[in-house]
């Protein structure tokens, strides 16, 4: 029987069929960060248990650490106990830690693929909803809560109910100046923030095959904003080339053996999906959010929606979102003045993202009254960017160049957008208060964020030339 890519990975990891669509599923990689990692590790110990396979877990501090230049683990005092807790618990359990200032440290979903910890066909979990990012290299990756983290540490498995499958077929090719972030926001805006609830999603089609691996990581990153726990792109020669030589990728002959296995990881021609969606990628415009859900996405050339003409079930929420965001119905979104720009997060902080933003920033200046930050996704991204001079491009343009971490995306580290301030952010969540109480977030691509920084308002990056 033809199987989807998801089915193939799922089936290969069933330790025991528990009946009724449930399985005891093996976990191949467990990523741990400073917020969800220490309590889960401590809980395992408190129950008198041991971490089942410490060599399959990898830890790094990202959420509650400062991104201030020259930072250390206590720079943000409120996060110090989480950072030191991760050090202590990881050491006690024999889990490898990539600590601050060391190659390998970074936002957990940036460092995982970057180091070759995450590979095609693996099951990957983390106590973090954006674990879906890792589907960009062809892993079955999904976020879990702290109880399931503890379960996975103690047993190297999870009891899981098999989700339904959805394939999002992206036909055509993205236009110049349109990125994977625009595609992701466009898909969420088109299908809705709950469309993926209960599904495992595969992204397929010509537009996906044309994306480089870092763009696929961005696309898969936003899958949870579509409601699904996992999103995946079938590994191909781009993936294999990208993974070759990474520190924890298989080396030498072992890599070639692995690559042969990875080439079989595709949905069969007649595989069944519970739902199929079609998106014409060639029609996707540069996209930005206007409201307080990622589904509040619109084209950069569009106008802010009018609650009065919405269907009954949306009128009140649109009105509340406009009030929170301080926007006028029917006004063009482009031209809205902004105060902050944040370039970073597990959605868009990889080297290609920073290059794209730097291309816009080069030779320009951050507009008066705008504070603009660039927070690289990992220590390795930071060093690579510095090696090609991107830090100077940003700093000469008036952007702050900071240390790797989640920073202002999660705002759990003392780094917040002030109340009422408007921020164009390359992160993935524009929820009420996400970037700080009263903060107003517009999600966009790195190029669009940089364009907003240098003009001082929401700008169609294509017009900057």
């Amino acid at each position: 029987m033809p199987r989807s890519l998801f089915d193939k990975i799922w089936d290969a990891h069933v330790v025991r069929d528990l009946g009724d669509g449930w399985a005891l599923l093996h976990v191949d990689r467990h990523l741990l960060h400073d917020l969800s990692g220490p309590p889960a590790l401590a809980q395992v110990a408190a129950r008198g248990l041991k971490v089942h396979d410490p060599e399959l877990a990898f830890a790094t501090p990202d959420h509650a650490v400062s991104s201030q230049p020259g930072r250390h683990g206590m720079t943000y005092a409120g996060g110090g106990k989480h950072w030191s807790g991760l050090q202590k618990e990881a050491a006690a359990a024999g889990v490898r830690l990539f600590d601050l200032g060391r190659p390998g440290q970074g936002i957990v979903h940036v460092m995982g693929p970057e180091l070759g910890i995450v590979l095609p066909g693996l099951t990957v979990i983390c106590g973090d909803s954006h674990t879906c990012t890792n589907g960009g290299v062809g892993a079955l990756a999904f976020g879990v809560g702290s109880s399931e983290c503890t379960h996975a540490l103690a047993t190297q498995t999870l009891r899981q109910q098999k989700p339904k499958t959805m394939r999002i077929n992206c036909t055509g090719l993205l236009a110049p100046g349109v990125t994977a972030k625009d595609l992701a926001l466009h898909i969420i805006g088109t299908l809705g923030a709950a469309a993926g609830t209960g599904y495992a999603i595969e992204y397929a089609g010509a537009a996906i095959e044309a994306l480089d691996v870092e763009e696929r990581l961005t696309l898969c990153n936003l899958t949870v904003e579509l409601g699904a726990r996992s999103g995946i792109v079938a590994p191909d020669e781009r993936t294999i080339t990208w993974l070759r030589g990474r520190p924890l990728s298989p080396q030498g002959v072992a890599f070639d053996t692995a690559a042969d296995d990875w080439r079989t990881l595709q949905s069969d021609r007649d595989a069944h999906f519970d739902r199929e969606e079609y998106i014409d990628a060639s029609l996707v415009p540069p996209t930005i959010t206007w409201g307080t859900s990622p589904e509040h996405a619109l084209s950069i050339v569009a106008r802010v929606p009018d609650p009065a003409v919405q269907q009954d079930d949306k009128r009140a929420s649109f009105k509340a979102a406009l009030d929170y965001m301080g926007l006028q119905a029917n006004a063009p979104i482009a031209g809205t003045p902004i105060n902050w720009v944040f370039i970073g997060s597990c959605a868009n902080s990889r080297l290609s993202d920073l290059r794209s933003a730097a291309d816009v920033a080069r030779g320009r200046r951050v507009a008066p009254g705008v504070t603009a930050w660039v927070v690289p996704g990992s220590e390795n991204v930071k060093r690579a960017a510095e090696a090609e001079g991107l830090d100077r491009v940003f700093q000469e343009a008036g952007f702050a160049w900071r240390e790797p971490g989640c920073s202002m995306c999660v705002a759990a580290n003392g780094e917040q957008v002030p109340p009422g301030a408007r921020c164009v952010s390359t992160s993935n969540r524009n929820f009420v208060g996400r970037q700080g109480p009263g903060a107003r977030t517009h999600l966009a691509s790195p190029a669009m964020a940089a364009a907003a920084a240098v003009t001082g308002f929401i700008t169609d990056v294509r017009e900057l030339g």
Binding site: E55, A316, R429
Partner: protein
């Protein structure tokens, strides 16, 4: 650790019918970084519940005295979307919620509920809205998990669907880890087979926590 078993629950139901209430709104991340899990209740829904000066938003539902300890929350579609933070469930428990009734949920939140003995019931939006009308003045509902029946304030019964495995775990307050470790021999057998089958999937043993020390 076993959880508090969920059998029959009776009491008022607080209607909070907005769509896409995310877990950041249910509990802010700073509360989770600074507080113990049993002290989150006062911070549940804080962005909606309090004014910037800290005073109550009078018309926010859980500020209404009749819903202060309501065991039920009636919610809109995609409740609990967003972040995986299990603290969202702990915060709801902190205001007395034992059962949420909504058309749909964020997948991770949905799983996290069961891990903590909270029952998330899925029912069509029209039904939840009708229930919200009936409950808006504090009338009580009853949920019987064994029989999978909701009894509305007007006395009508409605059946809900719940996965049998999940129901058993809730009714008996079962501990998943204990259950899984009974299969440990099977897990190790799977791993031994996988090491042969996919040697590349097993990282070389490395020095532990090496990057933290110089």
């Amino acid at each position: 650790m076993s959880m508090r078993p969920f059998t029959t629950v009776h009491g008022p139901a607080a209607p909070l019918m907005m769509a896409n209430i995310d877990t950041d709104v249910i509990i802010r991340i700073e509360r989770l970084t600074s507080l113990a899990r049993d002290s989150l209740g006062p911070f549940a829904f804080e962005a909606l519940r309090y004014r910037p000066d800290g005073s109550d938003v009078p018309d926010f539902v859980i500020n209404d005295p009749i819903f202060r300890a309501a065991p039920f929350l009636l919610a809109g579609p995609n409740f609990g979307c967003g972040s995986s933070r299990e603290g969202a469930v702990w915060a709801l428990q902190g205001i007395g919620v034992r059962c949420v009734i909504a058309p749909s949920y964020g997948d991770i939140f949905y799983s996290n509920c069961f891990q903590n003995g909270v029952l998330p019931i899925r029912l069509r939006q029209g039904y939840v809205e009708a229930l919200a009308m009936q409950c808006s003045k504090g009338a009580s509902l009853t949920v019987d998990l064994q029989r999978t029946i909701i009894t509305a304030p007007d006395g009508t019964d409605t059946t809900f669907e719940i996965d049998p495995m999940r129901r058993e775990a809730l009714v008996h307050g079962l501990d998943d880890i204990g259950l899984t470790l009974k299969d440990d021999a099977l897990i190790r057998q799977w791993q031994a087979h996988d090491r042969t089958n996919r040697p590349w999937a097993w990282p070389e043993a490395t020095e532990t926590a090496c990057a933290g020390r110089s």
